[in-house]
Amino acid sequence: MNLQRRIAWTVLLAAVAASLAAGWLTHHSYAEQSRDFISAPPSSQFWLGTDELGRDRFARLLYGTRVSLLLAPAAAVLSTLIAALIGGAAGYLGGRWERAVTSGIDLFLSLPWLFLLLAVRALLPLDTSPLTSVAITFALLGCLGWAAPARIIRAGTRTLINSDYLVQAAASGIPRWRMFWRHLLPNLRPILLAQFWISVPLFILSEANLGLLGLGVSEPLPSWGALLRELENYSAVFQNPWMLAPVVLLVVVVSCLQLLLRTEERVPC
């Protein structure tokens, strides 16, 4: 394992471990309000200062990491798998099927799915726990985020379909489903990995934007998306630069993912 990969693994595991061990790393809970220490700067008591309600930013960052680092990659895996199956099948089958699926993908990309998210939120009971509610949001994002990459996967499949090894496999009499599953999908790995890497921060940011419509995480549970929304108050950010901690952590995690996924891109033919 090369040095970059080791560093990336270490950082990622440290982030995950820190979020899971939040209760040991800080005695503050994410909801606890120290009302006499509003928007306080970093100190020995509050390592990253406090927010506008006197809640420890470090605790909220750790617990928010737990929510986002668990749910966003899960949603990314879901959207990538759906994209792989639909886009791959479209490219593999070709002809009329491919045209129909491609039209379906383009249609899917154009629809205002926001209203489906609003409808689902309306159907949930009002006493749904914040974690359940945000998990459902991420699951929906995963179910809705497949269309754009499916198009690219379809195009990639069309290129691979005439590869020598697939022609040889077909000539050997291997069933089509097996060719698709064992020989085609694995060779789409570079695209699938790229899709996964892009989706993780995209879903985190989508959850942040959906918060403006009440579709994000509910108080008091933190998430990276909710913490990132604070950055829109740029004047406060200039005065309190420690507010950038969530975006720094997100960039670090995304970069580590990229380093890890990069070495998976060596394509076996």
Binding site: L107, A148, Y234, E265, V267
Partner: protein, 294 residues
């Protein structure tokens, strides 16, 4: 080629019509459809409240609404926006050029920047060569679109310019990542190794043996960049207060403005389908005859 063009046009027409109906249905089924915040005005009498309800209930039957809408479109009438109190066609005429301009510049900028970085990374396949592009793309992927837009405004960029730059910076990380992966995978193919072994120049290998086989996927990128860019334009135009379609879409969504939302859905569908169809047609024209035809 002519039959391909006609097939694409037919596909665009049918998909757009279906898209409009599905979009209208989604809006109709969303909670809060048919309510009006004027209902909370305590000055209004019971009769006025009922009049507001009745006005909003006109569009409850989605099939009838859509038929009326299509009949109107045939005469150039895209309906009336209740949230902005103006004909939708007027709103489009004012705002579409701005958004199209932002999208065109933003997508072109994002594609150019992303592809250029990807090509450079593949060309210069040295260890650590992709570190800077990786960090840049990671940074812009992680930063909210609204924050990127705010930074440009803070630097004093005009609203339209800030929006274009912000869209380009939102699009480029995804373009870079997909393009780099695809080009790198192609660069490791046996035919490229063979070409390099035969002593072909780096430029020729890049153009003829790496870029050309990856063209279908890169063309697909162009297609989805448009819908990516439009999605990004909504928060960006809202932050920059750039009076384009993205800002309109946000207001329409908040007010459940059905005619406006259906028109925007149809517009986005046309844009997405149009760009993707152009990409497919261009590819078909590019490919040698008999090789992976549509």
């Amino acid at each position: 080629m002519v039959s391909l063009l006609l097939r694409q046009l037919r596909r665009i027409l049918i998909t757009t019509l279906v898209g409009g109906l599905l979009g209208a249905t989604l809006v109709r089924l969303a909670p809060g459809f048919g309510v009006d915040e004027r209902e909370l005005d305590p000055r209004l009498s019971a009769a006025s409240q009922q009049a507001i309800h009745a006005e909003r209930a006109r569009d409850n039957n989605i099939a009838l609404f859509y038929l009326r809408y299509l009949a109107g479109v045939a005469h150039g009438d895209f309906g009336f926006s209740r949230s902005l109190n103006r004909p939708v066609s007027e709103l489009l005429k004012e705002r579409l050029p701005l958004t199209l301009g932002s999208l065109a510049y933003g997508v072109a900028g994002g594609l150019s920047f992303g592809l250029t970085l990807a090509l450079l990374t593949v060309w210069w396949r040295a260890p650590g060569a992709d570190l800077l592009p990786a960090v840049l793309s990671g940074l812009f992927l992680a930063a909210p679109a609204a924050v990127i837009a705010l930074v440009f405004l803070w630097l004093g960029a005009p609203a339209a310019g800030g929006a274009r730059w912000a869209i380009a910076l939102v699009v480029f990380p995804q373009v870079y990542r997909y393009a780099k992966n695809q080009l790198m995978a192609t660069a490791q193919s046996p035919h490229v190794v063979a070409a390099e072994a035969k002593g072909l120049s780096g430029w020729r290998v890049l153009w003829a043996h790496i870029l050309t086989p990856a063209a279908p996927q890169l063309a697909a990128l162009a297609g989805i960049s448009v819908s990516m860019a439009f999605g990004a334009s909504i928060p960006i135009e809202a932050i920059c207060d750039s009076p384009g379609i993205g800002q309109l879409a946000w207001r329409a969504a908040l007010d459940r403005d059905l005619p406006l939302l259906v028109t925007i859905t149809v517009l986005v569908a046309l844009m997405t389908l149009g760009v993707n169809s152009l990409a497919d047609i261009a590819l078909a024209a590019w490919k040698p005859a008999g090789a992976g035809a549509e």
